[in-house]
């Protein structure tokens, strides 16, 4: 696929929605009173631990059809919805 800036933006938005709802439903289970934004620290903020991080990785692999490498499971890639979405997009773009 050839991504144009517009479709890239749309893709990014779609990924953010999917990741955001996964985190709300599976990680927070709607229990948190805190507002989760695209820039909320998930790993460094203690929202996700190693187990929920691995569950998120499995979800991303299944949902978007790519494979993670072990060293990619990192705060730099997974700490916020914004970072996750950017990472997913970069993987999809190859």
């Amino acid at each position: 696929l050839l991504y144009t800036p517009l479709t890239m933006q749309q893709d990014l938005q779609n990924i953010k929605i999917k990741v955001g709802s996964y985190i709300q439903e599976r990680v927070l289970k709607g229990a948190s009173k805190k507002e989760i934004t695209d820039n909320t620290a998930l790993i460094s903020g203690g929202v996700m631990d190693s187990i929920s991080t691995m569950q998120l990785v499995s979800f991303l692999e299944k949902e978007f059809g790519f494979e993670f490498q072990a060293h990619e499971v990192d705060r730099d890639n997974l700490d916020t919805i914004e970072l996750i979405s950017n990472f997913v997009l970069s993987k999809l773009r190859g």
Binding site: S50, H71, V73
Partner: protein, 844 residues
């Protein structure tokens, strides 16, 4: 333009930090700097006055560190890593001297350079492994290079984990910092003072370097340093005044006191890490905390997240995720559970790996393995529950109920971990089992008290949670960002400063209590264990796993163990003898044995005419641990007796002493060896804590399965019901009631063999330099000696008003130094001279 380019190459702008170049001399910043500067100076003074981690040498480098902090704060950001690096190099050279410092710095730079060589990664790895093998050879002392060996534990501490992380990042091309930052990563200067160091991740190191305004990071650093000091002081309160010895555990209440207080000693590690991370924050490293209220863990995964967080991050990054990904592709079911169990075996291995590099030998202890296995199983179960919970929606729970459940979980975890901690610290399973069995002894009142404490704890926790759930002052103070707490930390540091000033002349009970916390020492239990450990090592190797001993062992020079070369192990009551004609060099002393295997000069088998010959029986004091042959007090006393014109005969004192020999060995010597040399008198050297030492000797003999040979000892073994498979604590407990009987029997045996060989028996009391004097025991043993017919020489006041600290070899080895031996030698000379006429009369 060219100058700019050279400057940029030498001092590159730090990636992603450019926007933080604020004005260095703004009035706001200067005020913050001044406050931080005052706080730092006061804190370092408090640390010095309270002797906090004195052995680390942190107080000795206070002034250079204050200067470095000032300089670092006012140079542009791009120069700060250089200040950091130069500070580290200065401390290395200051601490180790020129040669060792060069070795340290050179090795470190070569190792870092190897990571970046323009060759395939496998070749770089191979080169690093070759250098690591060289360091390993030095660590094992296989190659004699004392100046290099001196710094090897410190190089190891800086590289043993950080190099693994760094290589991992180099391999995956994750390093993004400037080259000088990579060097600084391995030159974190507090590491020169503290071998136990948080495993800082390289990416975290880069990311957190001036990640926000430095005035904020400074205040966080001060707050953490203060917290570290408070943790260490609390640790000392517990260690000196609360923790009890395993042998003092008599019932359920004392068992709970023992396990809970032992677990609470993690405070020291937590304090140390807070202090280290706080110090690094003053240089812009805004690192995350290492411990997060670990006593409040509510389940295993929660504990794993709270205790030594840096260790956990290392394990997750380097092992957990790679293993999990590896298994995920191969195993469909229970991947998480299998990964966690593998990870805990790796954790166990890496604890031993760390231990090896720091202490110099590898211990793969089954107790360690069990500890990590149980923790691993707990976390696996906890993770499985969490994994399953993630699949279903949470049931709504009332808030108050959730608080109570949480407090119950915290109480359970606290108790469980305390028991696990006691297992980890026990010498053996048998010892731990024996300790736990004591918990079956309790009264109804004990149970009521325990119940009351648990309910109070739960209710207290409940109300704190309620308080924290609402917006109030308490919550606002607790949640204050660290950079806004100067108004709170400054008075706290000021108060500590005031107390430490008052400690210079402590008047009154409260101040004297606080003054007792300002000393770094072993508590009563560890002192006893250390003594035993030393002697036990002579018998069956070093195995100290006690609470405060690791630091004593760390400080102990490696040559301390070189005595092994002179011993021949035996399977009898003596347990060992000296090799004849052996000469070894220790640190600052020579140890030489004669042709009959005594640490003494040569004596003729046939006693010369007009010579009064004595045989001295003793342990490590008499043998002269850590001093040369001619400095041993026996040798000094012999010389002085022979030089005394009022004594008309020649005197020979044959030194039968050997480290680790006590009464039972002396009896055996009297029955087997001593009278081969026809002594006219046998001098038995009694010491402080005679009962404890005799008890320990007898217990060790039973544990080793040695044939006790003598009817009385065999009978006591039978009556007390002790056997080889029991824990040492249980054996000692069972033998304790008979110990005076054993001492009395030993005394009578020595006197009996003397009489049989027409010799006199002399009982000399020599107090040790470190053990507390027990008047009751001294009187009782002296009375036994008199009753059995010993001639008494009392050196109770031999040290007079001398400062005992000046008479010992070192803080970790309290045997007398040459000055101590000189004092004892003179005392013994006077004592023997006083009884000389009595002895010569008896000879006639």
């Amino acid at each position: 333009m060219t100058f700019q380019r050279i400057s940029d190459n030498l001092f590159p702008p730090l990636p992603e930090k450019a926007n933080l170049q604020s004005s260095l001399f703004s009035s706001r910043r200067l005020i913050y700097f001044l406050i931080t500067f005052i706080q730092l100076c006061l804190l370092l003074f408090v640390i010095r006055q309270f002797n906090i981690e004195r052995a680390s040498g942190i107080s000795a480098v206070s002034i250079p560190l204050i200067c470095a902090f000032t300089l670092n704060s006012f140079v542009p950001l791009r120069f700060r890593p250089f200040v950091f690096f130069i500070t580290a190099v200065y401390i290395i050279f200051y601490a180790f001297g020129m040669v060792s410092g060069l070795f340290f710095t050179g090795t470190a730079l070569i190792l870092i350079a190897c990571c970046h060589l323009p060759v395939p990664f496998a070749v770089r790895l191979l080169l690093i492994l070759i250098i690591a093998s060289g360091i390993l050879i030095l660590r094992l002392d296989l190659f004699y290079a004392p100046r290099a060996s001196l710094v090897v534990p410190f190089i190891a501490s800086a590289f043993m984990f950080r190099l693994i992380i760094y290589l991992y990042e180099v391999k995956h091309q994750m390093t993004k910092g400037a080259w000088i930052q990579s060097i600084c990563y391995f030159f974190m200067f507090p590491n020169v003072c503290f071998l136990f160091f948080p495993i800082v991740d390289h990416k975290v190191f880069l990311r957190t370097y001036y990640q926000r305004n430095d005035t904020e990071i400074w205040q966080k650093g001060i707050r953490w340093m203060l917290r570290g000091v408070i943790h260490i002081l609390l640790y000392r309160v517990l260690y000196y005044h609360v923790v009890i010895a395993p042998s003092d555990v008599t019932d359920l209440l004392s068992l709970l006191k023992y396990v809970l207080s032992s677990y609470a000693l993690v405070l020291r590690l937590s304090g140390l890490f807070h202090f280290i991370l706080g110090f690094m924050a003053l240089f812009g490293l805004d690192l995350p905390q290492a411990f997060n209220n670990y006593f409040l863990a509510s389940n295993f995964t929660d504990l794993w997240k709270r205790i030594n967080i840096y260790w956990r991050e290392f394990i997750l990054k380097i092992f957990f995720y790679p293993v999990m990904f590896f298994l995920k592709k191969r195993i469909r079911k229970n991947t998480l559970q299998i990964t966690i169990m593998i990870i805990f075996i790796i954790t166990w291995f890496f604890h031993a790996y760390q231990w090896f590099w720091i202490r110099g030998y590898y211990v793969l202890n089954p107790l360690d393995f069990t500890f990590w296995l149980i923790i691993g199983m707990g976390i696996t179960m906890s993770a499985t529950i969490q994994e399953r919970k993630a699949l279903r929606s949470p049931e709504p729970v009332r808030q108050s109920r959730a608080y109570i459940i949480r407090m119950l979980q915290i109480t359970g975890m606290l108790l469980f971990m305390s028991f696990m901690w006691s297992l980890w610290g026990s010498p053996s399973f048998a010892d731990w089992k024996y300790l736990i069995m004591r918990g079956s002894i309790y009264t109804g009142n004990d149970l009521l008290l325990i119940l009351f404490v648990i309910i109070t704890f739960i209710l207290g926790g409940f109300f704190i949670q309620v308080l924290l759930s609402r917006d109030n002052l308490f919550k606002r103070i607790l949640e204050l960002p660290s950079h806004k707490t100067a108004w709170l930390t400054l008075p706290c540091i000021g108060a500590l400063f005031g107390i430490s000033m008052a400690l210079q002349n402590p008047q009154g009970e409260p101040l004297q209590y606080i003054a007792s916390l300002s000393k770094e020492k072993l508590n009563k239990t560890d002192k006893a264990t250390e003594d035993e450990g030393y002697y036990k090592k002579l018998l069956d190797g070093d195995n100290n796993n006690s609470t405060g001993l690791w630091e004593v062992n760390l400080k102990r020079p490696r040559k301390y163990n070189s005595m092994d070369e002179v011993y021949v192990r035996t399977n009898d009551l003596l347990t060992k003898t000296f090799r004849p004609n052996k000469k070894i060099r220790g640190e600052g002393f020579t140890f030489e044995t004669n042709s009959i295997g005594l640490r003494d000069k040569e004596y003729l088998p046939q006693k010369p005419v007009n010579t009064f010959r004595m045989a001295m029986l003793g342990g490590s004091y008499e043998m002269g641990t850590g001093v040369s042959n001619d400095e041993v007090f026996e040798s000094i006393a012999e010389k002085l007796l022979n030089e005394d014109p009022t004594i008309k005969h020649k005197t020979e004192i044959l030194n039968y002493a050997c480290g680790g020999f006590y009464l039972i060995q002396h009896v055996e010597l009297c029955h087997t060896k001593v009278f081969d040399m026809q002594p006219d008198a046998v001098v038995y050297m009694a010491h402080t804590i005679e009962r404890t030492r005799t008890l320990q000797t007898l217990s060790n003999l039973i544990i080793q399965g040695t044939n006790l040979k003598y009817p009385l000892l065999l009978e006591l073994k039978k009556i007390s019901g002790v056997n080889q498979s029991m824990s040492k604590t249980e054996i000692e407990e069972r033998l304790k009631p008979y110990i005076d009987q054993v001492i009395n029997w030993c005394y009578s045996e020595i006197v009996r063999s003397c009489k049989k060989n027409h010799a006199s028996a002399v009982w000399v009391f020599l107090p040790t330099t470190s053990d507390p004097f027990d008047e009751e025991e001294y009187s009782a043993t002296k009375a036994m000696a008199v009753k059995n017919g010993f001639i008494i020489v009392d050196l109770k006041n031999v040290y007079g008003t001398a400062d005992k600290k000046l008479l010992i070899l070192s803080e970790w080895n309290t045997h007398p130094n040459p000055a101590g031996h000189l004092i004892i030698g003179k005392g013994l000379y006077n004592g023997l001279k006083a009884v000389d006429s009595q002895l010569t009369e008896l000879k006639k």
